[in-house]
Amino acid sequence: MEGLIISFYIFVLAIFIGNEVIAKVPPLLHTPLMSGSNAISGITLVGAILSTGAGKGVLASSLGLVAVIFATVNVVGGFMVTDRMLEMFKKDKK
C-alpha cells in the first residue's frame, strides 16, 4: 500500500510539471507537441516488453505481442513524424 501512495505522489507531481512545461509551448508548435507527446505515451512499450518477455505462457505473450506492436508503431511513427514536421520550421533567412 505504501508503494501505491508513493506512486500516486509521483503521478500527481508529474502532472504539475507537465502543466507548467507544456503551458509554455506556443500555439505555433501545438501540432508537433501533440504528436511528440503522443509518441511519449508510447512509453507503454516498456510495460509491454516486461509482460511479453516474462515467459508466462502463450496467451500472455501473444497479448503482450499485440501491445508491443501497437506501442512501437506509436513510438517510432510518432517521433519520426514529429521530427519531419519540426524540420520544416525554418526562420526567415533575411
Partner: protein
C-alpha cells in the same frame, strides 16, 4: 527492480521533461524531440536488460513489425492528414495499455492473489485503454471520411452511456473482490470498447480537434495506469506528462471555439463538415459589396507597407499555401512586411495551420498567433483573408444574439483595408452572415482563391 534500472528510468524521465521544455521554442524544438527519443531509447534498452525477461522472441517480432509500420506511416503521411495520424497513434497507445493489462492478468501465476490496488489499476488501464482505442478509430474514420462526419445521434444515447458506465463500476467492484472472475474482465473490455464508439460518434467533424486532444490525454493516462499495474515509475511520469499536455490542448481548443467541453462532447453540434455549403439562405437581400479583380488587387498590394495574411483551412486543402507564400516573398522582396495571423482553430487540430504553412516554406517567425498579432491589425495597411470566415466575424465581439458571440476572433476589421478571397458571400461553418463583407474598406475578390492568387502572382511578377 534493481537500482541501476531505477536510476536509468530517472534519467529517462528527466530527458522527457527537458524534451518537452525545449518544445517551448521553435529554435530548440527539434532538439527537444530528440531528447524525448533518447529518453525512450534509454527506457527501452534498460527494460530489455531486466532480469525478468526470459523470452525475447515475441518482443523482437513485435518491435520489428511495429517499427516497420511506424516508419512507413511517418514517411508517407500528408501534412493535411496529421490529425488522422495522431488519432490512430493515440488509439494504438491506448490499445497497448489495454493489452498490457490483459497480458498481466493472463500471465499471473495466481490471479487470486491480486491486491486491491493492482486490480484497480488493471481495470482502469483496461478501461481507459480500450476506450481510447475504439474512440480514436472512430475519430480517424470521421476525419478520413469513412464515417459520416455529422453527429450520429439516437434516442436514449446518454442513458445507454450512463448504464454502460454504471455496469463498468459494478463489475469492477465485483472483480476487485474476486479477481478469478475472468468473464468480468472481458465484459469490461467490451463495455469500454463500446463506450469509446458511443462517446465519439455523436461529435461533429468540426469538433474533432477537441476530441483528438482529449484522446491524447487519455492515452497518457492509460499509460500511467499501466505504470500503476506494473509498479513502474517511468510509465507513471511519462503518462502524467502526456495526460497534462492533452488536457491543456483540449482546454485551449474549447476556448478558441467558444464552447465548453461538455457542450463539445454531448452537444452534437454541426450537421455538415463542408463549411456551410448551403448556409447562405436568408442572405438574399441585395447589399453592396466592393468587387475587385486580381488586376485591381495588385495595385493595393504594391502600395501596402504592412500586410497580414489570414489563411483558412480550405486554402491548405487546395494546396494553395505554396502560391500564397510565393506572393508573400515577392511582396517581401519589394519592401513590404508580410505576416500570417493564425487562429487556433484554423486547421483540423491544434497548431495544424502552422505546420501546413511551414511545409510551404513560410518562415516560422512570420507565423503569429492570435494574442501576438491582434493589437497590430489597427496599424496594418492591408489584410488578405484567404478562406477564413467565422474567425474574422466581428459579430463575435458585438452581436449578443450571434452563435459566434464571445468567440475570440482576429481583429481584421480594425485594419485600414481588407481584401477577402472567397467564392461567394455564403456564410461560414456557424451559418452566420459576416458584416465585414459589406464594410466600406472591404474588397471582395470572388472566385477560387488559389486561382485568384496565382493570377495575382503572375501580375506581380510582370510589374
Amino acid at each position: 527492480m534493481n537500482i541501476i534500472t531505477q536510476i536509468a528510468y530517472l534519467i529517462a524521465s528527466i530527458f522527457f521533461i527537458l524534451g518537452l521544455k525545449k518544445l517551448g521554442s521553435a529554435k530548440t524544438a527539434r532538439q527537444g524531440n530528440q531528447f524525448s527519443m533518447i529518453a525512450m531509447l534509454i527506457a527501452v534498452v534498460v527494460t530489455l536488460l531486466d532480469q525478468g525477461i526470459v523470452d525475447f522472441q515475441y518482443i523482437i517480432v513485435g518491435v520489428v513489425v511495429g517499427s516497420l509500420i511506424g516508419v512507413i506511416v511517418a514517411k508517407k503521411v500528408e501534412m493535411t492528414s496529421m490529425p488522422q495520424m495522431v488519432a490512430i497513434f493515440n488509439g494504438l497507445g491506448g490499445g497497448a495499455s489495454a493489452f498490457v493489462a490483459l497480458a498481466e492478468y493472463y500471465g499471473a501465476d495466481s490471479v487470486a492473489i491480486f491486491s486491491y490496488d493492482v486490480s484497480v489499476a488493471m481495470l482502469l488501464s483496461l478501461f481507459i485503454g480500450a476506450l481510447t482505442l475504439t474512440g480514436s478509430f472512430i475519430a480517424f474514420g470521421k476525419l478520413q471520411g469513412f464515417i459520416t462526419s455529422a453527429p450520429v445521434v439516437f434516442g436514449g444515447q446518454q442513458i445507454i452511456n450512463l448504464l454502460l458506465f454504471i455496469g463498468f463500476i459494478g463489475l469492477s467492484g465485483y472483480f476487485i473482490f474476486d479477481p478469478t472472475q475472468e468473464m468480468d474482465l472481458l465484459i469490461i473490455l467490451g463495455i469500454a470498447s463500446l463506450l469509446g464508439v458511443l462517446l465519439v460518434i455523436p461529435i461533429g467533424g468540426a469538433d474533432m480537434p477537441v476530441v483528438i486532444s482529449l484522446l491524447n490525454s487519455y492515452s497518457g493516462i492509460a499509460a500511467a495506469t499501466t505504470g500503476f499495474v506494473l509498479g513502474n515509475n517511468i510509465l507513471i511520469i511519462s503518462g502524467a506528462l502526456v495526460g497534462a499536455s492533452g488536457i491543456i490542448l483540449t482546454k485551449i481548443m474549447c476556448v478558441a471555439m467558444n464552447r465548453s467541453l461538455a457542450n463539445v462532447i454531448f452537444g452534437a453540434v454541426g450537421t455538415d463538415d463542408s463549411g456551410g455549403s448551403s448556409g447562405a439562405q436568408g442572405s438574399t437581400e441585395q447589399r453592396n459589396v466592393t468587387r475587385y479583380t486580381p488586376e485591381d488587387a495588385v495595385l493595393m498590394l504594391e502600395n501596402a507597407q504592412s500586410i497580414i495574411i489570414v489563411p483558412g483551412y480550405g486554402l491548405a486543402v487546395a494546396q494553395g499555401q505554396h502560391i500564397v507564400q510565393e506572393m508573400a516573398s515577392i511582396i517581401g522582396s519589394q519592401g513590404g512586411k508580410v505576416r500570417y495571423a493564425i487562429h487556433p482553430v484554423a486547421g483540423r487540430m491544434p497548431g495544424h495551420m502552422n505546420v501546413l504553412l511551414a511545409e510551404a516554406n513560410v518562415p516560422y517567425d512570420t507565423l503569429c498567433d492570435l494574442d501576438e498579432i491582434n493589437d497590430d491589425f489597427q496599424n496594418t495597411d492591408l489584410v488578405l483573408v484567404i478562406g477564413a470566415n467565422d474567425v474574422i466575424n466581428p459579430a463575435a465581439r458585438t452581436d449578443k444574439q450571434s452563435p459566434l458571440y464571445g468567440m475570440p476572433i482576429l481583429n481584421v476589421d480594425k485594419a485600414k483595408s481588407v481584401m477577402i478571397f472567397k467564392r461567394s458571400l455564403s456564410s461560414g461553418f456557424a451559418g452566420v452572415d459576416n458584416e465585414l463583407f459589406y464594410d466600406e474598406k472591404t474588397m471582395m475578390v470572388f472566385g477560387d482563391a488559389k486561382k485568384s492568387i496565382t493570377e495575382l502572382v503572375s501580375l506581380l511578377k510582370e510589374n
